[in-house]
Symmetry: C2
Subunit: 208 residues, 2 copies
DNA sequence: GAGGCTAGTGACAGCCTCTGACAATTGACA
DNA sequence: TGTCAATTGTCAGAGGCTGTCACTAGCCTC
């Protein structure tokens, strides 16, 4: 972020993300064209595509920031924690520090609203899920290193991450459907669902 | 499949899927245009889009058939099995009966090769993952009914399905990466990975 | 601080996916 | 056989995305 060039570039990028999120949350993802976004920032459409590989990437830029922080957070967890504990703590901690990450680009409120946008747009949801698998792969590497196991021969890191991500995905979805867009609710659901995984897999559901 | 019209339609659809899979597995997904597929079957591009909502749908048509069978299979499992047992049995059983489902449209070998195509094409993988979430939702309904719990208030069906799907997804991916496209290997990996989930979540990975 | 160098941009042109509208064709059925 | 409905082809066009090329503005050296 030293030179004027770099600062200018960052400003353009932020402006594009801001405009994109603004338009997506107000008009919807499909009803917003790349031209709209470019026009809102007063750059050419071609320039938009120099910053983002596609419309999706602009929509998921905020997610990327949060996810990157989450992965880093897991890596920094004390090594006495089990993989699941480490991921759990990192997520919960994440919900508390979201402001710091997002607020520099858009209001947190708008970030939360993007969850609905993502969930309600098939193409966007698809892109989000694919990116999540990339995150999972990165996470698996982190866990393997933490626990000192070989990712090529030991499937456990990937299995643990897959299970964890599955639960988080359900949480995300249920939270969105509930329509209560508060961080507090999200926090509670995260903890609650993660607690229930064990019993769900082992205990009998039928109570009679 | 009574009238001539219906038979003709089915034949066109099968021909499109066949041509699509043929082209995708030989040239790759991105290097195959909808025009190519339509031309191979000698119908107009517009007709293609009357059969499939998009290029992806044609590519995932075979998957759909297999998945539909899987969900039905879970529904038919004896009620004394736990949810996880039922899903596990349904999958393993599925690998044994795949021929019957697929062979009527394309050789099984080609179906297996589509896994690589899906895995190596970002857009296609994204579409696949999104569709998987829809399957998960359907599965959750099946489990909820089986166990007699309320899906609106009880997260356990969705959690169980999410965990199971997560494991299956890892299996799928590792199988594809291994490059050994035999049903036998897939079968073994499925069973092996599902067995390891429990220990992975509870036991200590560090053996010293 | 002048001039060369290069990253970043705008302006086209063009490909591909996908959709709406309307006309032409073909099967269904009285 | 004639009418009706379903299926298809043709045409037109929007929108996402990419290559190309010229141009401007920041940067760096002398």
């Amino acid at each position: 972020m030293e030179t004027l060039r770099e600062r200018k570039k960052q400003r353009t990028r932020d402006a594009l993300v801001r405009a994109a999120v603004e338009l997506f949350t107000s008009q919807g993802y499909d009803r917003t064209t790349v031209d709209d976004i470019a026009a809102a920032v007063d750059v050419s459409q071609r320039t938009f595509f120099r910053y983002f590989a596609g419309k999706e990437e602009a929509a998921l830029a905020l997610q990327d920031m949060v996810v990157a922080r989450f992965v880093a957070s897991v890596r920094e967890r004390p090594s006495h924690e089990t993989p699941l504990e480490a991921m759990r703590q990192a997520v919960v901690e994440g919900w508390d520090t979201i402001n710091e990450i997002i607020e520099s680009v858009v209001p947190v409120e708008q970030y939360l609203r993007m969850y609905s946008v993502i969930e309600s747009s098939p193409v966007l949801l698809a892109a989000h899920l694919r990116r999540s698998t990339e995150t999972e792969e990165r996470l698996a590497h982190v866990l393997a290193e933490r626990e000192g196991v070989d990712l090529d021969t030991d499937p456990r890191p990937r299995l643990a991450v897959a299970v964890f991500s599955g639960v988080m995905r359900v949480t995300e979805r249920q939270w969105t459907m509930a329509g209560d867009f508060s961080l507090e609710t999200m926090r509670e659901m995260t903890i609650s669902y993660l607690e229930q995984v064990g019993p769900t897999l082992t205990e009998n559901w039928r109570t009679h």
